[in-house]
């Protein structure tokens, strides 16, 4: 029985959904009303934001078995696995294969978005194979650039930099015109992790990155030192705006929206954020500049927000029914236009704005950390990201950071053995 609704006597059939997406709250409420009208089942969306607070609430509720009928699991894949192994998540694989009309539910959704919630046979967490979550939308994290500032600097607004050298050259032109260059919420260290992993995939390729996570390649390898050196160059060339190292992403978004930086590293959710902050902002999306031509530049992308169904809920059949309804063409089109997010449903891509379509175009280059065959240990990730912060403030060299990350890696590996 879903604990959160135990005390309800009036609306025992009401489906409760907990979410963290404050920008989508209004649209969710409208969809809840529509579902009640169409299917005669009440849905109550409850917002708990920001995402850290939401994560804590979900974990605390899991500890007391009071999770709602539908909820989302934020954080890393091992957290997702813990929820599943504790019996709090329904395996939706069979339901996804069933045909709703002429096509299976699974076939209406982007494969990359679904794969984020998938556990393959023999996965490192020992979770039974299956698909445990339904994506609501699709997200990519890449770069955006301000076309007006580009024009002001005498640069071609339709030709953003494709290589790192071009990027540095463009930054020098922008600097000579007194235009602040690059902003990102590097105070939230996962943003550093996202950009660094893009560069790492480009410098050494996926295989070598995964081998490093598996402990087969040390962080002191020249390719990793090269990656750290890119951030050192960012510092020495004065590419980042002042204060970006401790800036939260919301402030970084404000900085870009207010035209106080020519570039930003941000997710496709930024389209909605920028629209709200500065509707006249003239900008384009771009892939982070390539460091080498040896390997493709991979960006983070896949499911944006996903919902899971509580396996302890006696309303789980209706909860699944609601998720099927929510991912149908009409509802997805409504969500995409109301919240300026890329839809998870393939059939609704035509209805999105041109700038959002630019983000969507790069989906082929997207990988999601949840789909990696092997994952880095949290303590190593923290040392890696904090190490890059210390390079950006000029406190440590790439070699020093590489050595420190490797030391932490070896220590953590010893513990796991």
């Amino acid at each position: 029985m879903a604990g959160c609704a135990r005390g309800e006597k009036k609306d025992i059939e009401t489906i409760t959904v907990w979410h963290w997406m404050s920008d989508r709250e209004e649209a969710f409420q409208a969809l809840a009303k529509q579902f009640e009208k169409d299917v005669k089942i009440k849905v109550r969306f409850e917002l708990y934001a920001p995402s850290e607070i939401y994560s804590q609430r979900i974990k605390a509720s899991a500890q007391t078995n009071t999770l709602p009928d539908i909820y989302g699991i934020l954080g890393e894949k091992r957290d997702f696995a813990s929820f599943i192994k504790s019996g709090y998540v329904v395996n939706l694989a069979e339901t996804l294969d069933k045909k709703e009309g002429v096509v299976a539910w699974k076939d209406t959704l982007f494969e990359k978005a679904l794969s984020v919630n998938e556990f393959l046979p023999g996965n490192e967490y020992g979770v039974a194979p299956g698909i445990y979550g339904i994506p609501l939308d699709v997200t990519t994290i890449q770069m955006v650039y301000n076309k007006r500032l580009y024009r002001e600097a005498g640069l071609d607004p339709e030709a953003p930099p494709e290589t790192w050298d071009e990027f540095v050259a463009h930054c020098q032109v922008l600097k000579s015109k007194g235009i602040p260059r690059f902003v990102s919420g590097f105070g939230e260290i996962w943003m550093i992790d996202a950009l660094a992993s893009n560069f790492a995939m480009n410098i050494m390729g996926e295989e070598k990155v995964f081998d490093t996570y598996a402990g087969k390649v040390p962080y002191t390898d020249p390719d990793w030192v090269k990656l750290f050196s890119v951030f050192q160059q960012m510092a020495t060339e004065d590419i980042l705006v002042q204060g970006a190292v401790t800036m939260v992403n919301k402030t970084a978004e404000q900085t870009f929206a207010n035209e106080r930086a020519a570039y930003a590293f941000n997710g496709s959710w930024g389209v909605n954020v920028y629209k709200g902050m500065n509707p006249k902002l003239d900008y384009g999306a771009m892939i982070p500049p390539k460091i080498t031509n040896l390997h493709p530049m991979k960006i983070w992308g896949g499911a944006g927000g996903s919902f899971v169904v509580n396996n302890q809920s006696y309303r789980r059949a209706n909860a699944i029914r609601f998720l099927i309804w929510l991912t149908m063409d009409e509802q997805q089109a409504f969500l995409a236009t109301a919240t300026e997010n890329l839809p998870a449903n393939k059939n609704t891509l035509k209805q999105i704005s041109p700038i959002l379509a630019q983000f969507g175009d790069d989906m082929d280059n997207a990988v999601h950390p949840n789909t990696y065959p092997v994952h880095e240990l949290p303590a190593v990730t923290e040392a890696f990201d904090k190490g890059i912060q210390s390079i950006l403030i000029g406190e440590r060299t790439p070699e020093q950071v590489a050595a420190e990350v490797q030391r932490i890696k070896e220590k953590e590996l010893r513990k796991t053995k």
Binding site: S86, G243, V245, E395
Partner: protein, 295 residues
Amino acid sequence: MNLQRIRNFAGNYIFILPAFLLFFTFSLYPYFNMFYLSVTNWDGISSSVTLVGLENFKDIFSDNAVFWLSMKNAGVITFLALTVQNFLALTLAFLCDRDIKGGNIYRVIFYLPPVLSGIVVALIWNWIYDGNYGLLNHFLTMIGLGDLSRAWTSDPKTALFAVAVIHMWKGFGWGFVILLAGLQSIPRELYEAARVDGASGWVVFKNITAPLMIPVFILVSILTILGTMQIFDIIYATTGGGPGYHTEVPITRIYAMMIGSSKFGYACAMGVIFGVVLLIISMVQIRVSKMMRQV
């Protein structure tokens, strides 16, 4: 034991039972549960918990330099709060203790920062400290000290002091109110008698004000130390512990371990160690205060 005595005895316990139940549920049980969790490797979600003995404690003491750095950072902020913040609070309390015009308005103004939310205060100061368009840099440029301008919370040389200033700005009002109440409780006759005897301001402070204020000083310093060592919200909303580890404090480390890394057991062990450190500090303070009273 006769029936009446049993009734009286039981009656007493029945009266304290609700308070005890509340205290047990919300204080004692979580406290002892934290000790239990500190010797496990629980991830905060799973129903299964594995005992790891003192492994977490061993790791914290032998190989967690960041935790001890965070303790040092909290110590630096606490030292600044004990000295600068409380000196400011005492000075303002002295000024407001006199019959000055609009005294109540000043009291309200000085007491305003402590009642504001830590997050709100942090956001205001983020704007002041902003490296590109911040008020502080603008002011420095205006007075010809533009060379000093920087991103105050991102520069490793200034980040810790920048968050300490925010904490002190937010916290001095508490000390001010308590110190002012202490000053006002000193009988005025003592001051009048001292003046009649020709005592200077410093002599009056040294021989009347300071000795009578010792219990208040002790209270303020205990509250300052315990409150500052547990600083979290301001750091969380300004630097997130960065740049690097320059503004990490014990609670941000515990939070990162618990929420970021899902190492509940390890985070509880950090919490136990931190709690013991605070307990030792409090005990030392109480001991020192007793000695000072005897002097």
